[in-house]
Subunit: 237 residues, 2 copies
């Protein structure tokens, strides 16, 4: 009995978590300090141990405390510096800016995969790929240049699909159920085609994200997304 309402903000694991967090941020429990055990905290807060456990577990996942059996929980000396970034779907990102999403195909062809791509994706020699370049714009302003390679072995339909009216991303999302991914962020000097599409000078420093995707060990696609000048990928925590 005595179950607590979740929405009143006075109990529940969220408020326990917030209370503990406050003690840490305020320095009440300084770096390296030992926190009381779960049982003690459960008593103090008037909740069950499971509730305290949930709060503590989340704090540990967020890198604020260390937990070890028998040793107990301690405030991390240096909070783990981990940033979480979401790479949004362009269409959504542009929509979120309140601008009209526009798509334009820049060029495409089918060819044997170049050596660097084979190395990056783990493709066999002679593997054929579809190479698609397109531009995503926010209204009249170029926003992101997409340079994508799709394995034809993995996705034979890619050979016939026209990317004239919608980007490969959205088609791939529907075609590939789930995937293993490698993501990189990097800086590039704008190459000719990229510069032209984004309407910047060749050689200008641009932010880019690369993503390689596999499905059950089979390489599917590799893409470089090059952003308009000044773009930042930002997160807060």
């Amino acid at each position: 009995m005595m179950t607590q309402a979740a929405g009143d903000g006075k109990s529940g694991f969220r408020s326990v978590k917030a209370a503990i967090l406050k003690r840490i941020e305020s320095g009440f429990w300084g770096p390296g300090a030992a926190l009381p055990g779960e049982v003690a905290l459960a008593g103090d807060f008037g909740v069950s141990r499971a509730t305290v456990n949930r709060a503590m577990r989340e704090l540990a996942e967020e890198g604020l405390i260390d937990r070890r059996r028998k040793a107990g929980s301690r405030v991390r000396p240096a909070p783990r510096r981990e940033a979480r970034f979401v790479i949004p779907v362009v269409r959504d990102e542009i929509a979120a800016l309140g601008a009209e999403y526009r798509y334009a195909l820049v060029g495409q062809y089918e060819a044997a995969a170049p050596a660097w791509l084979r190395a990056r994706m783990g493709l066999a020699e002679g593997a054929r790929v579809r190479h698609v370049r397109c531009l995503h714009s926010a209204g009249p302003a170029p926003f992101q240049f997409e340079d994508r390679w799709i394995s034809i072995d993995a996705l034979p339909e890619a050979r016939w699909h026209s990317f004239g009216t919608a980007g490969p991303t959205e088609w791939l999302i529907a075609a590939v159920p789930f995937s293993e991914v490698e993501v990189s962020f990097l800086a590039v000097a704008a190459e000719r085609e990229t510069a032209s599409a984004l309407r910047v000078e060749e050689g200008e420093a641009l932010f880019a994200a690369e993503r390689t995707t596999w499905w059950q060990g089979t390489p599917i696609t590799h893409v470089r997304l090059t952003f308009r000048p000044g773009y930042r990928m930002t997160t807060r925590y």
Copy 2:
């Protein structure tokens, strides 16, 4: 009764999670497909509903499924997988490369915070800051250029501290207990001092990370870390 051992790999929320994940990865439950309810799954797996809930909650946190009351759980059409990037301490990163970590102070001074910095950090007009530039090298090779601003109002000790032998980062970690952070990744064209320190041409495209830190709402420090050419921030999931 009938409690299950956690370590045998045959039961527990981990195995439930793995089993569900497998069905998603294999396409048994394709994009957008509805999953059975928690009660049904609990019956199928022979565990309690709480255990299924834990598994499903984690899958949702990881962006693989969507969960909504009444509507049930569905496989996400486009898995929203957030990439987690750890921004390592330079010293550790260089050590991990097997190279010798070297530190060199490039320059420093105290001044009134420029307008752009006040805007970014939320500093008051006339606030004074310490500006430190230094270079982190992997053996003889320049690795990362650090350009840091420290609020003297927040950390008066920064006024007197010499950064001649160790970087500001390590000093700050010890000085500030916990902090709120904003991180950005971006591309920059190398400016004169940066280019000189990293031994690259001015204007070369370089990858950079910026981090602004507050403590209890008070701005503490802002730093731009500019990496050697070719640097990538990579993660896999």
